[in-house]
């Protein structure tokens, strides 16, 4: 009986809450501020308005205690960089959580292991389950149509939903993550970390650009990024957006330039036809660079005739707070690492170990051990994209 009464009280309160928040939330699309830029205005009602990556003006509370990230995306790393913990994170997709607990993120935010994932199965988001988490604000990926639809539904139910795009500025990873950092800074009302982060990213971009832009065409090395390589032998390479951005930024001759898809299935013969000087293997894959160099990844797939394999110029992309291929809070480091890996001679003065350790101390407040570095460079198979 008591149960019944309390249940009806709770549902009554929930209805009231929905009505109240529903009135105060505005999700109108405005064209006055361009997408990608963000700004916030504090107002005295205990809430403020931010402009998200989709160009929507979203009103969020000044005090935020519960955040749900309903898309599989590297946002948790950026969020935890601000708060230094996962205390306020109440929801993550199963796949996001898996990459978080298998990355360095668990070191600064051990509580991320307890974050609920029950609202999502595979790709599908159950909006009622999200409501049950009672989030103050929801973050979602604007490039994912079904997540955007779920966010619109939640917004209609009075939950402020802030959209983040993974492909701002034609896949410029640094710009994308900078805009995320600024947007999270706006939402949480914290500007200092954001400014410092953006400044560091710009500095790295300048250093890399200054050095690689001096290369003549004949000095440039050709490269390809393998976004995933699975046990059934399917190889995907990075095409438009991130792949083009990385290889262009580090001054590589991108052999996969003709590929217009974000990622494309190719056969091994195509890799032979490209025969790049350097192969980057994204850490989405459970295989290591050694698996490719020794052709031990998939039975019957022989990589040994490739120039990059013969010269042992196959590198697995590290995984710090997240995989280094998509935008994440480590992206400036990723840019430096890729450039130094492709042109070691140009970056002899840069001690990558020191850069990573300093960065982690400055932005995450943790001191990395040498074995931590080892894990970043050689991510364990369990951390592969699931």
């Amino acid at each position: 009986m008591i149960k019944k009464i309390s249940l009806s009280i709770v549902s009554l309160l929930l209805c009231l809450l929905l009505v109240l928040t529903g009135c105060s939330t505005q999700a109108s699309v405005t064209s006055s501020t361009p997408a990608g830029t963000s700004m916030s205005t504090l107002n005295p009602n205990g809430e403020h308005t931010v402009t998200d990556n989709a160009g929507n003006e979203v009103t969020v509370p000044n005090t935020i205690d519960r955040i749900a990230i309903i898309s599989t995306m590297p946002l948790a790393s950026v969020y935890c960089m601000f708060t230094g913990s996962a205390d306020k994170l109440v929801g993550l997709t199963p796949s996001s959580k898996n990459s978080c607990v298998n990355s360095m993120l668990i070191k600064i935010a051990p509580k991320i292991a307890d974050v609920s994932t029950g609202f999502a199965t595979g790709d599908a988001v159950n909006t009622e389950e999200v409501l049950k988490l009672d989030p103050d604000v929801v973050f979602y990926n604007t490039d994912n149509a079904s997540d955007t639809a779920a966010a619109e539904k939640l917004q209609g139910m009075g939950v402020p939903c802030v959209g983040f795009s993974t492909t701002l500025d034609e896949g410029d990873v640094i710009e994308t993550v900078n805009s995320w950092v600024s947007l999270i800074g706006d939402v949480l009302g914290e500007k200092i970390t954001a400014d410092k982060f953006v400044a560091y990213g710009k500095e790295i971009e300048n250093i890399v650009n200054e050095r690689v832009s001096k290369l003549s065409d004949s000095e440039k090395k050709s490269a390809v990024i393998i976004t995933n390589y699975t046990s059934n032998g399917i190889i995907t390479v990075a095409g438009n957006t991130f792949g083009r951005f990385w290889l262009k930024s580090i001054g590589a001759d991108n052999v996969a330039l003709s590929i217009e898809q974000k990622v494309a299935n190719v056969n091994l013969e195509q890799i032979y036809a490209w025969d790049p000087d350097v192969i980057f293997l994204n850490s989405f894959s459970a295989f290591t660079a050694g698996d490719i160099i020794n052709s031990t990844a998939v039975k019957g797939q022989d990589w040994s005739g490739l120039t990059a394999v013969k010269n042992k110029d196959v590198y697995k992309m590290p995984m710090g707070m997240y995989y280094w291929f998509p935008p994440c809070s480590d992206s400036p480091l990723a840019l430096l690492w890729m450039a130094k890996t492709l042109y070691p001679n140009l970056f002899q003065d840069i001690d990558m170990n020191k850069e990573i350790k300093d960065y982690y101390k400055d932005f995450y407040g943790i001191t990395l051990t040498d074995s931590d570095l080892e894990t970043i460079y050689n991510p364990p198979a369990a951390s592969a994209m699931q």
Partner: protein, 350 residues
Amino acid sequence: MLEHVKLPDGLKTISDHKVLFYTLLMFLPIITGFICIGIGRYSVPLQDTVNTILAHLRGQALSSSDQIDKVVWSMRIPRILLALLVGGGLPVAGTAFQSLFSNPLATPDTLGVAAGASFGAVVGLYFNINLLGVQFLALLTGFSAVALTYIIGMRKESREQIAMVVLGGMVISSIFSALVSLIKFIADSDSQLPSITYWLMGSLSSANYYTLMLGAPFIIIGCVLLFKLRWRINILSLSEDEARSMGTNILLLRFLTVLSSTMITASCVSMCGQVGWVGLLIPHICRMAFGSDNTVLVPSSIGFGATFMVIIDTVARSATASEVPISILTALIGAPFFIALLRKSGGWSI
């Protein structure tokens, strides 16, 4: 058999042509295969292709560059062999099913065998079992699918048998497709799902000698069995009493036919996903061209199917930098050709 019968002069020429016909069937896929070895994303001069193959056949060290050797010997040749096997296998399974069910619409796809086998294979992929295990699972579920379709569709008293079989196959097919979707739903969205989805669309891209060694025996045994049974498969389309009067163990014959066809389908599905259309297209084209005699149909389905598949797969792997899923091509290239033939010949009878 024809040789033992004293034939009138007129028929002698047909049997003469038959020799020519079989020779053509034998050599057409082989020649096409050889030509396609020379085509691909990586450009290899003809001379080097020939040298590489000769060097390997003689057991010599590399004749040309290391890369050419890898591309020709360990990528293109296994893939072409796989295309030959799948292209020969699926149509002959279709031909056998058509006779078994006395139904022009019976194929591995329409009977639910392909969907059933896919389910077994997807379960295998989900639990990460090796290819041999995947094939057995696919065989098991494929066989269950065809058995269920048979039970639903082949009721003795039913006059609408053709429709019943197709309807039964549709139902069984959709049940297994739903089960496949269920697995896709449970599977992790970023690593397993794309590979399962891509694999379901059908691709020969992961062909290599290792998978061939595990998969080819089943397809070859199935094809040889059907080839050996080709005289008797004609009997399958007769009514039960008629067949019994010819002294054939009809149950055993049915079982062997279903087993061979399902085995072929299951192996094909396990190695390269659902390659649609060929199982329907090629048998029908052969029927329109050569009539309904299985002694001709079985070998011609194998020969023309293998040729068709090698050509289609060569397009799939070499048209653009990213691979084109094979089912798209079989439908887009095969269907218009099929329609043209259908309109020209006015169809056929079983």
